[in-house]
């Protein structure tokens, strides 16, 4: 009796057939996985890709020029241009506005250039001081002392119809696009 040893592993012919289907199965799964990977990776990286080419930055109104006395530095707040429904109060951002004279301003980010803690302005000594690691800046935002390696970040500004507009939308960090927009200042008191 010639019985077919179809299900024993010793049969070469059926092995290659089963082996072929196994390999085909793995290939199909690989294909499905790579097709699915495109939307998954795209979704995961969407917060990066959207921000490309300054996509997050836009001009937002700050306050009227008349709110800021000449020669003084005042706190102002604005709403971040990119808002999601679950953001709550986190989209409100503070910044320091220094009116040098007329329509000449400096708008500083609240975040210390060291690690981002909120700096406070002391008009009497003309210094910004950071509560975290002791960074200090002069009234023009240049570095005075402490661990920061550079001056305060500045928002680009323009004056339209008596309103100060600033270009904002990203958390100011040493590597952010905003840091490149603002020019580096020589480390000296003004």
């Amino acid at each position: 009796m010639a019985t077919k040893p179809a299900l024993t592993p010793s049969s070469d012919a059926t092995m290659s057939r089963r082996g072929f289907f196994t390999k085909l199965g793995i290939l199909f799964n690989g294909l499905a996985a790579s097709v699915l990977a495109v939307p998954i990776v795209g979704f995961l990286l969407s917060s990066i890709t959207r921000g490309r080419a300054n996509g997050y930055l836009s001009w937002v109104p700050l306050e009227k020029v008349s709110e800021f006395p000449e020669g003084e530095t005042r706190l102002a707040t604005f709403q971040n241009p990119y808002v999601m429904p679950t953001d709550g109060k986190t989209v409100d951002t503070a910044c320091w506005v220094r009116r040098i004279a007329g329509e000449q301003f400096q708008v500083f980010a609240i975040n210390c250039a060291h690690l981002g803690c909120p700096v406070r302005w002391f008009p009497q000594s003309g210094l910004f001081m950071c509560p975290c690691h002791g960074g200090a800046y002069y009234r023009d935002g240049s570095r005075a002392s402490g661990p920061p390696e550079r001056g305060l970040f500045e928002y680009p500004y323009k004056v339209e119809n008596g309103m100060i507009m600033i270009q904002a939308g990203e958390l100011p960090t040493p590597g952010a696009a905003m840091a490149e927009l603002t020019r580096e200042k020589p480390p000296c008191a003004s």
Binding site: S47, Y56, G88, C117, R139, P148
Partner: protein, 494 residues
């Protein structure tokens, strides 16, 4: 009744077939001398982890991971929901205990040489478990969405942004957008509740499985050397000759300690209460002094004390080196002596790291590097410094306060410690040097030239010149007297 129970048991076991492997695991032989209180930290870490899962699920019944509502839902847990404060406190203290126990467990394993052959992979998985525990601690701190969480995220983003080239992309990936907002909280919630715990459960199972398969590390004896060729047979001989079943020869100590830890967490929760939340996560409130939770305080101190030029390399390369060092440790010393009595460098390394981390943590409690923001308006100049002083000197004391010098310099042990204490500054610096230092700054002091009128500077320096201990003369420039007397003489000459 008994027969009934055993019949039901048999019915299940016939289908599950788990009784035999469980019995085998519970009764696997362990070397007798490993039934020690030193061997309880691994099971204690797992106990706290289970406690964290339970309390975490309970918190998730109420907590809302939304930028607008997380803070209020924590307030509701603290104040409105019966025993909500206790569950929050248990979870918070459980987290502190877990970090501490995992670290103690690691030190014990290191000092007992348990990472050596054949338990290298158990150690490596343990390193990942440590990293995940720290990851849980950080993400958990973010979920307590308050001011500390908000600015802590800012610090994390600032560190991440320093990575060359990829920095800005990493920041946006971490924050889920361009700023710290609702999307940031959502992704930290996903990490804290799904991703990291899932990985932790998987890795803990592997870790425990390997302890069961390879056997618990025997008590290290000085002179008993680990060799790849002979270790396994020696270990089996040891457990055969001088072994005992884990249950209950070793297990009762684990059980006692596990119960003790749970009671300790509950006691801390009951006595100290929940952590925060501190102020609302509103970035327009800038009167805040953000500080991390205790397990990251050492890092907070390190970031203040490193020279600025070293900071970025230390932040980016340091952690990589530490993690690689831990991962490669079992390959560098996979054989040899296990006992801490014959491994002085291992003991000294542990002591050095412990003292360093301890000192940094202690420093972060007092933050001598931060200006005291309110010192200028809240700490008065001590009476004795303006007693019998001239009008000019008193004016100088006023300038000293108003110009916020006090925020960085202490007088009578009150005020900032960023700069040196000025109680005896007149002994160190002569008049000219004082003027120069005030106007030009230097040595980490800002220059005040633009913010002081000549009259203010004169008054301030006159005050500073009075600051010297009784009986100790102020510093003076000797050449100045000579120069002045020469001037007088030449003036007298006709």
């Amino acid at each position: 009744m008994r027969i009934m129970i055993s019949k039901i048991g048999q019915w299940f076991d016939q289908r599950l077939q788990l009784a035999a492997p469980i019995r085998e695991a519970a009764e696997h032989p362990i070397p007798r001398n490993t039934s020690s209180w030193w061997y309880v930290f691994g099971s204690a870490a797992m106990t706290v982890f289970i406690l964290q899962i339970v309390t975490g699920i309970l918190l998730a019944l109420v907590y809302v991971p939304s930028g607008g509502e997380a803070w209020s839902s924590l307030q509701a847990l603290n104040h409105d929901i019966t025993l909500g404060w206790f569950i929050r406190a248990m979870h918070g203290w459980g987290s502190n205990f877990m970090v501490a126990i995992v670290l103690i467990h690691m030190v014990q394993v290191f000092l007992f040489g348990a990472y050596k052959f054949p338990r290298e992979l158990t150690w490596i998985i343990g390193v990942f478990l440590l990293l995940m525990t720290l990851g849980m601690a950080f993400t958990g701190q973010v979920l307590r969405f308050d001011q500390d969480a908000y600015w802590g995220l800012g610090i994390g983003a600032s560190i991440a942004s320093r990575v060359p080239v990829l920095g800005p992309a990493i920041v946006k990936l971490m924050l889920g957008g361009p700023i710290i907002a609702g999307a940031t909280l959502s992704r930290f919630f996903a990490l804290h509740v799904f991703v990291i715990p899932g990985l932790l459960i998987g890795f803990v199972c592997l870790h425990v499985l390997m302890v069961l398969r390879l056997g618990i590390n025997e008590w290290p004896m000085p002179g008993r050397i680990v060799k790849r060729a002979t270790y396994i047979s020696e270990y089996h001989e040891l457990t055969k000759k001088d072994g005992a079943p884990f249950f209950s020869y070793g297990a009762w100590k684990d059980m006692f300690f596990a119960a003790f830890i749970i009671v300790a967490v509950a006691a801390c929760a009951l006595y100290f209460g929940p952590f925060g939340p501190t102020g609302r996560p509103d970035p327009t409130i800038i009167q805040t002094v953000p500080k991390p939770d205790y397990f990251f305080l050492w890092l907070y101190a390190l970031l203040s004390l490193l020279p600025p030029s070293l900071e970025t390399p230390a932040l980016l390369i340091g952690p990589v080196l530490v993690i690689l060092g831990l991962l490669f440790l079992p390959f560098l010393s996979g054989e040899g002596e296990k006992s801490w009595k014959r491994r002085p460098i291992a003991v000294l390394t542990v002591l050095l790291i412990a003292i360093t981390l301890g000192s940094f943590t202690h420093l972060a409690g007092t933050t001598p590097w931060s200006p005291h923001m309110n010192a200028w308006s809240s700490d008065p100049v001590p009476d004795r410094y303006i007693h019998d002083s001239s009008a000019l000197e008193r004016q100088g004391a006023l300038v000293f306060q108003v110009k916020q010098c006090r925020n960085c310099h202490s007088l009578g042990e009150k005020g900032g410690q960023r700069g040196p204490s000025l109680d005896s500054v007149a002994v160190r610096l002569a008049q000219d040097q004082l003027i120069r230092q005030v106007i030009q700054g230097g040595g980490n002091m800002p220059a005040y030239g633009k913010n002081l009128s000549p009259a203010e500077t004169t008054a301030l320096v006159a005050f500073l010149e009075t600051l010297h201990p009784n009986g100790q003369a102020p510093a003076r420039d000797a050449s100045r007297d000579v120069a002045l007397s020469d001037e007088k003489e030449s003036a007298l000459k006709p």
